[in-house]
């Protein structure tokens, strides 16, 4: 099959597109009046919070909206031809051949019962009718291009035999098999670890250049868009609100929503005490409850009644910039450079006494080597190796690491869901490492509580919010009567700034951020002194993240809680933590004050991690460090230093020490520990990864 003839215009031109989903009750508009165009070789980012319709746009381009979705207005032109007018056959020729798509979940988008080679070869075989031999050669070539080791073995394996990062590379390879003109990437890295994500992003960027492919990159992460795209389009509640080049939108934003978005993400320089984040007030409107006029109106600082809440608002071009448009009536009146009205600044609280002391903690698991067929040899998985640290009252200690680093295992041991293999956990000087939760007294249990990651999973779906909090109070022996506990429950709702009426609601009636607040209220119901927050905001939308983070900080300040903040997101860690502990494969590789960890000398892993985190700030210059390969499995860790397989400094250590010995923990300066073989002078040579470019 031949490709469509080239034309000079844009590869993709979406004009005033509207898409609706039809349910039995009503029509739900998902995308309204959306226009964007992608020029040849250009990468356009589509950014917005969940539910804003960005994925629907992608599916609309693919003409794959399912049974209930329909394009109700506007047009999508691909190389000058309207996709909606194509027949099913024509469309099939375009899909996979001219437009390819990459999704969020690599595992789910590969057929589990088909060998990878077959899935790749299928593409040219359908579209170009090439022979199997040729298709195989092409597959081999593309797999080599996506930098996968041992391509022939890859082609001959099934998807589940590959790691997440490898799977995503295969999905990318599949998309590139027939050299499409347009590549749509729908949150391609959300399911991946940060360091793997960085490598995949770099790959996409390089291949896009190599193949000359235009890209439509969908993401909620502004930093990622900055790193990959030339232009971007910000979406809010089904509409494009701002469109323009990266430089224009990032530095000269012309829409209040874009501005609010940037103010609610932790950029370097934000600080929980001096420069707190500014959360966007209110909630995202549901599709059938959108306000009149400007959708963002009710949450906007510049809202003008009688003007912003009337009629339809169209995109307006911003004069002087290249194809820069905004959907705001007042963009010319607003002083975009006005300093942020800084939120309530607070005093830095001084950490108090040591509450929690972990000494040489080890946690090993025994697992059967072969899960299905059972029996046979047992393997020891070292989930935590010699953890030692202290946490003080009203201090925030961040535990940073990617999947498999052992942070969740540590949380389990601390909570008493598992008992330690070796070492000590001292809570107020008392050993609790061997006391399972059933044997702990009520005081100890209520002292150490946890906030969970997934807001949609943290509350029991079949119990009212109030009941769940009251149950926690009952268990913690708080209050003498039901009346008493009910009162206390309402006070807890006040504490997390939820209306008291929420007590009678079911969790499904709450938004993600509200659920997370209930989770926090529940954790603090017994007057917890140590709270383990396991990625409490990572599943939330950017604008909600800031509010929930602030809430946590505020409660911590008033209750003098010790917060153990588990996260993989270094931006937020830098924003809120006092001290940081970096973990890799069960080892603590670095521990120190936030400033110590975020400035050289680094542990090589911390360095790579810092470089991997995308930062949505054009004035930041990052040193580019891309780690090879994936995180090794904890079942089968490398010999010697756990990080040696991916370390770029390995050559600086003489005598192959990294391969043979686990490095000792060294203290560099006051309280800054690092687990590395590198000599002091090498460490001193390290340059900061993140530099703020001179203005």
């Amino acid at each position: 099959m031949n490709k469509l003839s080239e034309n000079d215009g844009p590869v993709l031109e979406i004009d005033k597109l509207s898409i609706s989903f039809f349910t039995r009750l009503r029509e739900i508009p998902a995308v309204m009046d959306f226009s964007v165009s992608v020029q040849p070789g250009e990468a356009v980012g589509l950014v917005g919070e969940s539910g804003c319709g960005k994925s629907t746009v992608a599916l609309g381009v693919m003409q794959d909206l399912g049974k209930n979705g329909r394009i109700v207005g506007g047009s999508i032109k691909f190389k000058g031809r309207d996709l909606a007018e194509m027949s099913a056959e024509e469309l099939r020729d375009i899909r996979g051949n001219e437009i390819a798509m990459i999704y969020q979940e690599p595992m789910a988008s590969l057929n589990p019962a088909m060998k990878i080679g077959r899935q790749l070869m299928e593409v040219p075989m359908i579209h170009e009718g090439v022979s199997e031999k040729l298709a195989y050669d092409r597959a081999l070539e593309v797999v080599t291009d996506v930098r996968l080791p041992d391509p022939e073995r890859m082609l001959n394996s099934y998807p589940h035999q590959l790691s997440g990062g490898q799977q995503q590379r295969i999905v990318i390879a599949m998309a590139l098999m027939s050299k499409p003109s347009l590549l749509i990437l729908d949150e391609p890295t959300t399911a991946l670890d940060v360091t793997v994500e960085a490598a995949v992003v770099e790959l996409v960027r390089d291949l896009g250049k190599k193949y000359g492919t235009s890209m439509l990159f969908i993401s909620h992460n502004l930093g990622l868009i900055l790193e990959t795209c030339d232009r971007l389009c910000v979406m809010y509640s089904g509409e494009a609100v701002e469109r323009g080049s990266i430089a224009d939108v990032f530095d000269e934003m012309q829409h209040p929503y874009t501005q609010a978005l940037f103010r609610s993400i932790p950029l370097p320089g934000a600080d929980k005490n001096a420069h707190p984040l500014v959360a966007i007030p209110g909630n995202f409107p549901l599709p059938h409850e959108r306000p009149e006029g400007c959708n963002f109106g009710p949450r906007c600082d510049y809202f003008e009644p009688g003007r912003c809440d009337q009629g339809q608002i169209d995109m307006a071009d911003v004069a002087g910039n290249d194809r820069h448009a905004t959907r705001c009536l007042r963009y010319q009146e607003i002083d975009w450079n006005a300093p942020i009205t800084v939120g309530a600044q607070t005093e830095k609280t001084e950490p108090g006494d040591v509450v929690l002391k972990i000494d040489n903690l080890k946690k090993y698991y025994e697992v059967a080597a072969n899960a299905l067929f059972g029996g046979g040899t047992k393997k020891v998985v070292k989930a935590n190796e010699t953890l030692s640290f202290e946490a003080r009252e009203s201090e925030t200690l961040a535990i940073v690491g990617e999947s498999g680093c052992g942070k969740s295992t540590f949380a389990k041991v601390l909570m008493g869901l598992e008992t330690a293999t070796e070492g000590e956990i001292l809570l107020d000087g008392q050993n609790i490492e061997q006391t399972a939760i059933e044997d702990r007294n009520t005081r100890t249990v209520s002292d150490v509580q946890m906030v969970f990651q997934n807001p949609f999973d943290t509350l029991n779906p079949s119990m009212t919010v109030g009941r769940q909090i009251i149950r926690a109070l009952e268990i913690f022996d708080i209050g003498d009567s039901d009346q008493d506990r009910k009162q206390r429950m309402l006070e807890l709702l006040d504490l997390v700034k939820l209306p008291r009426a929420f007590a009678d609601r079911m969790p499904r009636q709450l938004s993600g951020g509200q659920k997370q607040r209930v989770g926090i209220a529940r954790a603090f119901s017994g007057g917890a002194r140590i709270v383990v927050a396991d990625e409490p905001v990572s599943a939330l939308d950017v604008s909600v993240q800031a509010a929930v983070t602030d809430l946590l900080m505020e409660i911590q300040r008033t209750e003098k809680t010790t917060l153990l903040f588990i996260s993989h997101d270094l931006s937020i860690v830098r924003y809120l933590s006092d001290r940081v502990m970096v973990m890799y494969l069960g080892h603590v590789v670095e521990l120190g004050d936030t400033d110590q960890v975020f400035s050289p000398p680094y542990h090589p892993y911390t360095e790579a991690l810092l470089s991997a985190v995308p930062i949505a700030d054009t004035s930041i210059e990052k040193e580019h460090i891309v780690l090879e390969g994936d995180i090794p499995s904890a079942m089968n860790p490398p010999s010697g230093c756990p990080f040696q397989t991916r370390c770029r400094w390995k050559g600086e250590v003489p005598g192959g020490l990294c391969d043979s010995e686990v490095p000792p923990t060294r203290t560099l300066e006051a309280g800054h520990q690092i687990k590395c073989h590198l000599s002091d002078e090498v460490l001193q040579r390290m340059q900061p990864v993140i530099k703020i470019a001179a203005e």
Binding site: R95, G96, A108, M114, Y158, Q161
Partner: protein, 348 residues
């Protein structure tokens, strides 16, 4: 893989032992034995006569001992009458007690003697099982392909007209047990009241020469009930697969709809129904018993009814051993097949 099969076989033997012991225990409860004695002797036996009859047959030993004898792990019971003649399980008529083997149980290949049919249990089971085998062969041949086709067609496009119609058909057949559908079929196709008389209402002649006229109704009766169930499972599995992300990937790769179904969806969608088909066997046996009774086809199911109705202990035990083994072997096949169909498990 070898180790896996070995473990499964081990569990299977353990299950078979447990189940046969349960059957053994229940058939050997005293009221059952009493009934046996009375049917074998005469119905007006006194309690003492019953006791002595049972004593003579070795029925009054402890159940575990009798069980071991039956399995062939304990020397079998011999009874010495007052006149010195020795009788026992292992001593067939005309054999001298001294020549008789000490052990005679399942392990030695001796399945016992049927008190109803007056024949060796092993030979009864062999002939009856082969008759049922023919029936089951045709049932599977009709049921499995039609169920799979029905399910795949229905699940291919959820909510479509084909789906709605086929699902209604499938639900109706699962709601119709064999004794209802069998009766309906006989009423419609073979009774003189309706007058169609296309097929025969009995399958007795099918034991010698099965043909469409005498065999179709019993086969369809069994197949129909199982078919609905398998078709619904296939449909559920197919609809689930069709909404999977990788089907969307295939669609957006430009694969045509027939190819999506055949190359991408089918294999993944068949994993679940395959297990279901294999686990259907215990239920199919139900259908076999009903249909063989209804159509008077003297196969394995019919034998089961006869043996159970007359407390023919040895025959009943033989029948249970065979049916339990059939069930367990199909379970084993289902496990292995599951592993085979599902590469995620195969290579781990």
């Amino acid at each position: 893989m070898g180790l896996f099969i070995l473990r499964r076989v081990g569990i299977m033997i353990l299950t078979a032992l447990c189940l046969t012991f349960v059957v053994f225990f229940m058939t050997n409860l005293y009221p059952n034995l009493e009934k046996l004695a009375k049917t074998q002797g005469n119905f007006r036996m006194s309690d003492e006569a019953v006791a002595s009859w049972l004593e003579k047959g070795g029925y009054l030993q402890s159940t575990p001992k009798k069980y071991l004898e039956w399995v062939g792990l304990a020397p079998s019971y011999q009874h010495q009458a007052e006149d010195g003649t020795v009788t026992g399980r292992c001593i067939t008529p005309g054999m001298k007690p001294e020549d008789a083997p000490r052990f005679c149980g399942i392990l030695q290949g001796y399945w016992g003697y049927s008190s109803v049919f007056k024949d060796e249990v092993s030979s009864i089971i062999a002939t009856r099982l082969s008759l049922t085998g023919i029936l089951m062969f045709w049932v599977m041949l009709v049921m499995v392909p039609s169920a799979l086709i029905l399910g795949v067609l229905a699940g291919m496009k959820e909510g479509s007209a084909t789906d709605r119609t086929l699902s209604t058909v499938a639900i109706t057949t699962t709601a119709t047990p064999e004794y209802v559908s069998g009766v309906l079929f006989i009423a419609i196709f073979s009774s003189s009241a309706v007058g169609l008389k296309w097929f025969k209402g009995t399958a007795t002649s099918a034991m010698e020469s099965p043909n469409l006229e005498n065999f179709l109704l019993p086969v369809v009766t069994i197949a129909l009930y199982g078919m609905g169930y398998i078709a619904r499972m296939t449909r559920a599995s197919m609809t689930e697969v069709m909404t999977a992300q990788y089907i969307r990937t295939a669609r957006l790769k430009g694969v045509s709809f027939p190819n999506i179904v055949l190359k991408h969806a089918l294999r993944n969608a068949l994993i679940a129904p395959f297990t279901v088909i294999m686990l259907q066997f215990p239920w199919l046996l139900n259908g076999v018993v009903i249909v063989e009774t209804l159509f008077n086809y003297k196969g394995f199911g019919w034998t089961l009814v006869q043996a159970a109705g007359n407390n023919d202990i040895e025959l009943l035990l033989g029948v249970s051993v065979v049916s339990v083994l059939v069930v367990l072997i199909t379970q084993l096949i289902s496990d292995i097949g599951y592993v085979f169909l599902n590469p995620r498990i195969r290579i781990s």
